[in-house]
Amino acid sequence: MEHPILFLNLLFKKLGLPIVSNFEDAHTLAQYLLLPYVTYTWVVMLVLVSLAALAAKSLQMVPSGGQNFFEMLITGIEDFMVSITGEEGKFAFPLIATLGLFILTSNYMGMIPGFFSPTANINTTAACALIVVVCTHAIGIKFHGIKYVKHFMGPIWWLTPLIMPIELIGHAARVLSLSIRLFGNIFGEELVLAILFFLAGLYLAPLPIMFLGLFTGFVQAFIFCLLSMMYFAGAIEHAH
């Protein structure tokens, strides 16, 4: 269920591009590429890249304005990450920070009328979750080599046939839980906004839910980063 009015869709329609708002209606590659959650992902990327370019245009020793704000943000995330994964997990900081900023921006984008949260679609969140889980295993193999298998074997060797499937299912469920948590929160909130707007939009009924949405959007981005960091930390530490 998408918003009925999306600015980019209207613009593209004026330009004569093949636009569909639903996944089921899309048939050609161009239609798949112009689905709302794809186009609005590009918008999020543009926003983030232009903000970063603005902040990093004139770097100074004594920061001011945008540079100050971004330095504070990045240092905050970095300190937090070091406190969870330790210094050895710091190399994954760009990935986590990028994911966090991307998810936060996309969550907040749905608050603006005429815009759409890319994270209110299961495809976007599943992509993020897959990246995190694949990176977890890559980090584990990088740190432990072939001994990374020990993470899956449990404490005692003869329990391995029992523990191994459970661990594998647990690792697969990480993708599911990460993606569905984010998707469900953001999509549910958008749905509540839409329903309240249809019921009593004239009396500003969606407004309180929007404030709640500002909170949920931040918390979900935070939780996503936090869980990714904890998965990374789990892959870095030695098998018990």
């Binding site: 469900g184 936090l226 869980l227």
Partner: protein, 125 residues
């Protein structure tokens, strides 16, 4: 012409067989009633499902917040760490309710009958 109509009917029948009621073939009265009943059961299931999930989630989150507030009251210096841990726990508990919400949304919006019902009451075309 008759051949075309025959072909069309075959296609429609195949579609009906494939997706129980979702085809735009103009289902009969009995099918409509069955679809409506199915939708009513789905709506009831969705309502009860989210209510039960919210009940359990509320209890769980209440206990988590209670314990962490007590912890902060006893040792205010540890409030930062307690808050972060509580947030993780709350997100874990809340995700259970979110899973139920997703299932409820699937029940209402993504089952094969809902499109028929939406057409029926004029929400979709």
């Amino acid at each position: 012409m008759t051949k075309k109509v025959g072909l069309l009917t075959t296609v429609i029948l195949l579609g009906l067989a494939a997706v129980a009621l979702a085809a735009e073939a103009g289902p009969s009265g009995a099918e409509k009633v069955a679809g409506l009943n199915f939708f009513i059961y789905s709506a009831v299931a969705a309502g009860f499902g989210i209510a039960i999930a919210a009940f359990g989630t509320g209890l769980g989150q209440g206990m988590a917040v209670k314990s962490s507030v007590e912890g902060v009251a006893r040792n205010p210096e540890a409030s930062g760490k307690i808050t972060v841990t509580m947030m993780i726990g709350l997100a874990m508990i809340e995700s259970l309710c979110i899973y139920a919400l997703v299932i409820c949304l699937i029940l209402i919006y993504a089952n094969p009958v809902s499109k028929l019902i939406q057409t029926f009451i004029g929400l979709a075309k």
